[in-house]
């Protein structure tokens, strides 16, 4: 059994132990969940260490066979060979490795951030472990079946985290989340299975299909190869376009892109801090991952064809998210809209379909993940003390909470793309890519750089600056349980900003692989 398999399974085992072993205390539940995520993090580090930069394609591949569907049953290509193999398959490449690291790290910190007062710890830590395992699975799945299964796990695990452990209006928020992302899964299922069928020659002229027919496969590397060579006769471009639009719909919902975004601010407003960290830090990166892995990876021609549309939506998201963030009076909704604005830039970078833009989009996924998690963590810590995250109700916190205020400032500055933070290096690459392909749209999008400063510094001014509200005079500043996670995240944000080539080299490998496919 390979490293990457255990990496995914570790939190799952932890979760199952929490669930099934009776009479464990709250501290043990927490400890087990912590161990599960820590094991995932360590194994990711080992995989990173063993990663070979001279190999393109996936490494540490583990495939588990489950059953086969004979070609007569699935009927994708009656004349071609091949039974459809169903099973679990994992592996890493330059894109998945940093995302695995992000996932395991944020889940670890989320567990550290969890309140001691949380009740029903068995369920709580079970769902957290499960959502972690699901996300890890999503980012290293090498097979459509594995991918969809992992994505579904994150869906209902996150649903229960919001539904049971959320705050005000948690139930409607949880259902909104479930319905929206459930719809995304349906669209995704149609798109991915459709692509697999199309690659097997189901949607094309019969002669061409027979010539190129390699049989139905859910294996992502195989599909990538096939999609690279399959002719238009064998897979009609009409069918591809429809499948791509389904894929795009799934991406828009998963990633909370305007106009399919309203589940995200609502969910963040209701979710507790660790859930928000997982949701904003990792779960909202699955959409961009799908667009990179399956959009650019499998249907690059369609990404190019719909490039202007995607880029325009990128700019719309940047500006819409930023303006909406400006109007918010609650920190958590502000962060949610800020993250929508960030991910709009990811859309622009991917639409550009050049190496710089794709690399910028990948950087932005990690950067936005770290910063969003850090912001939610800090706002949660402040809310624990002041009992509010409403911006007008705060003020002058620099005096009573200098350390938390300092971290909040760093997080805000990273979010607004200050150089020497991860935010900047992501922005600059995504915009280089964007300006190369779509200069006019990028000129519009770049205004978001001003707006991000406006809404974040406005919130900072109202939160940490100004005269101290006497209600907050006697607050206790960050405890070690708080400043250690904040320090870890801040250090990473700065590290990526100062020496970006460490993850840049990894991303570069994936970018090269994608660009070779995209032509």
């Amino acid at each position: 059994m390979g490293l990457v398999f255990w990496l995914v399974v570790a939190p799952l085992i932890a979760g199952l132990v929490i669930l099934l072993v009776p009479r464990l205390g709250a501290a043990v539940h927490r400890g087990l969940a912590f161990l599960g995520s820590a094991a995932a993090l360590v194994l990711t580090a080992v995989a990173w260490d063993q990663f070979q930069y001279n190999i393109t394609g996936f490494q540490h591949v583990t495939a588990l066979y489950w059953f086969t569907l004979p070609s007569l049953w699935h009927g994708a290509n009656p004349n071609g060979p091949g039974n459809l193999i169903i099973g679990l398959s994992f592996g890493v490449d330059g894109l998945s490795l940093p995302l695995l690291a992000l996932t395991s790290l944020i889940s670890l910190l989320a567990i550290v951030a969890a309140k001691r007062s949380v009740e029903r710890t068995r369920e709580y830590y079970f769902w957290i472990s499960l959502v972690t395992a699901g996300l890890l699975g999503v980012f290293c799945a090498l097979d459509l079946f594995t991918f969809i299964a992992a994505l579904e796990i994150t869906l209902f695990a996150m649903f229960f985290l919001i539904y049971i452990f959320g705050e005000e209006r948690r139930q409607s928020a949880a259902f909104k989340f479930l319905l929206y992302r459930g719809l995304a899964t349906v669209a995704l299922l149609v798109a991915l299975v459709g692509i697999a069928y199309g690659a097997a020659g189901a949607y094309g002229s019969q002669q061409a299909a027979t010539l190129s027919g390699t049989g139905l496969s859910f294996d992502i590397p195989t599909l990538t190869n096939v999609m690279h060579t399959v002719s238009t006769q064998a897979f009609s471009s009409h069918a591809r376009s429809w499948l791509f639009l389904f894929l795009l719909l799934a991406v828009f919902i998963e990633e909370a892109f305007v106009p399919f975004h309203t589940w995200l601010p609502t969910a963040h407003e209701s979710a507790d801090t660790p859930t928000s960290m997982m949701l904003g830090g990792v779960l909202t990166k699955t959409g961009a991952y799908i667009l990179l892995r399956f959009g650019v990876g499998l249907l690059p021609g369609e990404v190019r064809q719909y490039g202007v549309l995607i880029a325009v939506f990128g700019a719309i998201n940047i500006l819409y998210g930023a303006f909406a963030a400006w109007a918010q009076t609650d920190w958590r909704r502000l962060i949610a809209f800020g993250s929508i604005s960030h991910m709009g830039l990811v859309l622009l970078g991917i639409a550009a379909l050049n190496a710089v833009g794709l690399q910028g989009a990948m950087f932005m996924m990690v950067s936005s993940g770290l910063l969003t998690a850090l912001l939610f963590f800090l706002v949660g810590a402040i809310k624990d003390r002041t009992e509010t995250s409403r911006i007008p109700a705060l003020g002058g916190l620099s005096r009573s909470l200098p350390m938390l205020s300092g971290f909040l400032l760093v997080a805000a500055l990273g979010s607004l793309g200050l150089p020497l933070t991860s935010g900047f290096i992501s922005e600059v690459q995504a915009f280089i890519g964007g300006f190369d392909t779509y200069p006019v749209i990028s000129f519009v999008g770049v205004l978001g750089v001003i707006l991000s400063a406006v809404y974040l510094l406005y919130a900072m001014q109202k939160t940490t600056f100004g005269p101290l509200d006497p209600r907050y005079g006697e607050l206790v500043d960050a405890t070690p349980r708080e400043y250690v996670p904040a320090l870890v995240l801040t250090a990473l944000v700065l590290f990526i900003g100062i020496d970006p080539k460490v993850i840049g080299e990894l991303f570069g490998l994936s970018v090269n692989a994608l660009m070779r496919i995209g032509g």
Binding site: F323, S398, P419, Q461
Partner: protein
């Protein structure tokens, strides 16, 4: 020596990290000692680098290291030494050392003394790193870092709402300019494949900067203007000048260092460093000249009537930065940089002297001062040196540099701009001597504050004296007497800039204009022949225009900020009442659909059987058609 130029920014960085480790409760003596000593060492290295480059122009070089690969291109970081930035290093380290020393007295007993020094050291490091950057991206990185330090230091007294507001305003207004710079360097990168100055300038000179969607010449003009937009923000040029006066909410040493001598001059430095690009586009140069000229006049006109001592000097800074830009715009490269240097000396001096006054009387209102020359003799004399330099009285530093600029402007054929500069020069002499007379001469207008006034001790006096000496003799670095030494030094960077012959009548004219300004200030505020209030009333609307700063804040507040807020409210409204409402509507529809469908759940096995059988039939039919059989 040049290969060790990286030591110059490194030493303040070491100081910063050291202070960070000491924490916020570190003793004041150690904090100041470490900062001043390391920055002074940095100054010594700068001087050595300056001399090394001067003695051997071949030493001009860039040292770079790989930073990040993007696609097929490599982005590098490193440092470079040119004649221009060697001079900048000396100026920045010198003024920084003096300000760090001065702050010991000014910030004494502040709760966050150590934090203040941390920020200042971070600023000095960032500013030096900006100057020594060999490419646009690294410049941009530190361009934003100095902006961050400015934000932190303007908002240093964070509990004051005005300071919080001013900090935010300064960051956001400069960021509007920064976006232009950001877009400009990205376009240059795409056109040339590199961020490196030299690669880009070589490509520009060879007309090889090209992009698919824009012609080569238009691209040069567009990028040059975008870069200039960045400079407009940072150097507080019209129309983005509004942040600088508000930035005076920061402690006065900060105003002296960041908002007079160094950071605000970064925009001028940027245009100077990117000069080959600007020279390739006459349209861009003309833009620079006109923005500079308008700013010089506008700043001087507003400074005439302000009541706050720091705001007068802030508007003066805006105006003087306008002179520098105008010089660059009319092709007088060396004079613009020369004025940057002399201005750094005399403006830092004026701010520190003002700081000494504020430290003594705890007010910034000119009309609560008066007669302070008896209490603060050293401050008075040093301020006078700075005021004479600013007014451009021979032989003080400002005379040489400003006069060069004005002559060059006229001789380049920009007559209107020359008139602007002349009017501004008259106003300059008037407003700075208005401050001088109101502050130091006459009778104390607030006896209580006057009684407690005293000098700030040697840590505050020494920087004043050093700067006063430089403000007095600093002009002699570049006079016909030494064969225009600095000009020759700067022009050794390559064929940039045009020189102008000295013109004695013009020099005399500008001195006379300045003397008239001083005379007017004297008869209004020193030996009053006319009551200033009557004059103000006589000018009526014009007075209000100046006093209300041409209503820029009001207009921007209504149009830009108001417009943005309206836009935000609209987006928020659309989000809540249209997008989310549709989502809720869909949810409702599905819900009622479900209510209807529940009647199919009759509980009767017969009904279920019929439906199930029907379904099975359909599936079988499809299977037969599609595959030709399932069994």
């Amino acid at each position: 020596m040049v290969a060790y130029a990286w030591l110059v920014p490194l030493l303040p960085l070491v100081a910063y990290i050291f202070l960070l480790c000491l924490g916020r409760r570190a003793p004041e003596g150690i904090v100041t000692g470490v900062s001043v000593v390391l920055t002074f060492l940095s100054f010594l290295v700068s001087v050595a680098v300056f001399r090394a480059v001067g003695s051997n122009p071949d030493q001009v070089a860039a040292y770079t290291f790989h930073w990040l690969t993007v696609g097929s291109r490599s982005i590098s970081v490193g440092f470079e030494v040119t004649h221009l930035n060697a001079l900048m290093l000396v100026v920045v380290t010198l003024v920084s050392t003096l300000v760090l020393l001065f702050s010991k007295g000014y910030m004494h007993h502040d709760d966050r003394f150590a934090v203040f020094y941390q920020y200042l050291n971070l600023f000095v490091f960032s500013m030096l790193a900006l100057v020594i950057s060999p490419n646009f991206l690294q410049l941009y990185i530190f361009w934003e870092m100095v902006g961050l330090c400015s934000y932190l230091l303007v908002g240093f007294w964070y509990f004051k709402p005005e300071a919080a507001l001013a900090a935010k305003k300064s960051f956001i207004v400069t960021r509007i300019g920064d976006v232009g710079l950001f877009a400009g360097i990205i376009l240059l990168f795409l056109a040339s494949g590199s961020f490196d100055y030299n690669t880009i300038f070589v490509a520009a000179a060879a007309h090889k900067l090209t992009l698919g969607w824009i012609s080569g010449q238009a691209l040069v003009t567009l990028t040059a203007i975008l870069i200039f937009v960045g400079a407009i923000g940072k150097s507080a040029q019209f129309p983005l000048h509004v942040w600088l006066p508000d930035a005076m909410e920061g402690p006065t040493p900060v105003s002296a260092l960041i908002h007079a001598a160094t950071m605000v001059a970064a925009g001028v430095y940027l245009v100077a460093r990117a000069y080959p690009l600007f020279q390739a586009s006459p349209a861009a140069l003309t833009t620079v000249a006109w923005i500079g000229g308008i700013t010089a006049l506008l700043g001087a006109l507003i400074a005439l009537t302000q009541r706050d001592i720091k705001r007068v000097i802030a508007y003066s800074t805006i105006s003087q930065l306008g002179y520098m830009m105008m010089a660059l715009g009319v092709g007088a490269y060396a004079y613009g940089v020369f004025h940057l240097m002399t201005h750094a000396f005399f403006k830092a001096l004026l701010f520190l002297a003002a700081g000494s006054v504020i430290h003594a009387v705890h007010t910034q209102d000119l009309f609560e001062m008066g007669g302070l020359h008896k209490k603060l003799p050293l401050t008075t004399w040093t301020f006078l040196a700075g005021a004479l330099a600013l007014a451009g009285i021979v032989p003080f530093a400002g005379f040489w540099s400003k006069d060069d600029i004005m002559s060059a402007t006229l001789q380049s054929g920009h007559t209107v701009l020359y008139v602007f500069a002349l009017v501004a020069a008259f106003c300059t002499a008037f407003y700075i001597f208005r401050v001088f007379f109101l502050t130091f001469t006459g009778e104390p207008r607030n006896p209580a504050k006057y009684e407690n006034a005293h000098e700030g001790g040697w840590v505050m006096n020494l920087p004043l004296v050093v700067l006063a000496v430089l403000a007095t003799v600093g002009g002699f670095f570049n006079t016909p007497l030494n064969g225009n030494g600095l000009e020759k030094y700067l022009l050794a960077d390559g064929a940039v800039g045009v020189t102008y012959s000295e013109n004695v009548p013009l020099m005399a004219l500008s001195v006379v204009i300045a003397l008239l300004g001083i005379l007017l200030a004297a008869i209004l505020y020193w030996r009053p022949l006319v009551k200033p209030e009557r004059l103000a009333r006589g000018f009526g609307f014009l007075y209000q225009l100046s006093y209300r700063k041409f209503f820029f804040d009001e207009i921007y507040g209504a149009v830009v900020v108001g417009g943005g807020k309206v836009m935000a409210a609209i987006v928020d409204g659309v989000d809540r009442y249209i997008v989310d409402a549709i989502v809720k509507l869909v949810g409702r529809v599905v819900y009622y659909l479900g209510l209807g469908l529940k009647y199919t759940q009759t509980g009767q096995v017969q009904t279920y059987g019929v439906v199930a059988g029907f379904g099975l039939f359909i599936i079988l039919a499809i299977a037969m058609y599609r595959v030709g059989g399932v069994f």
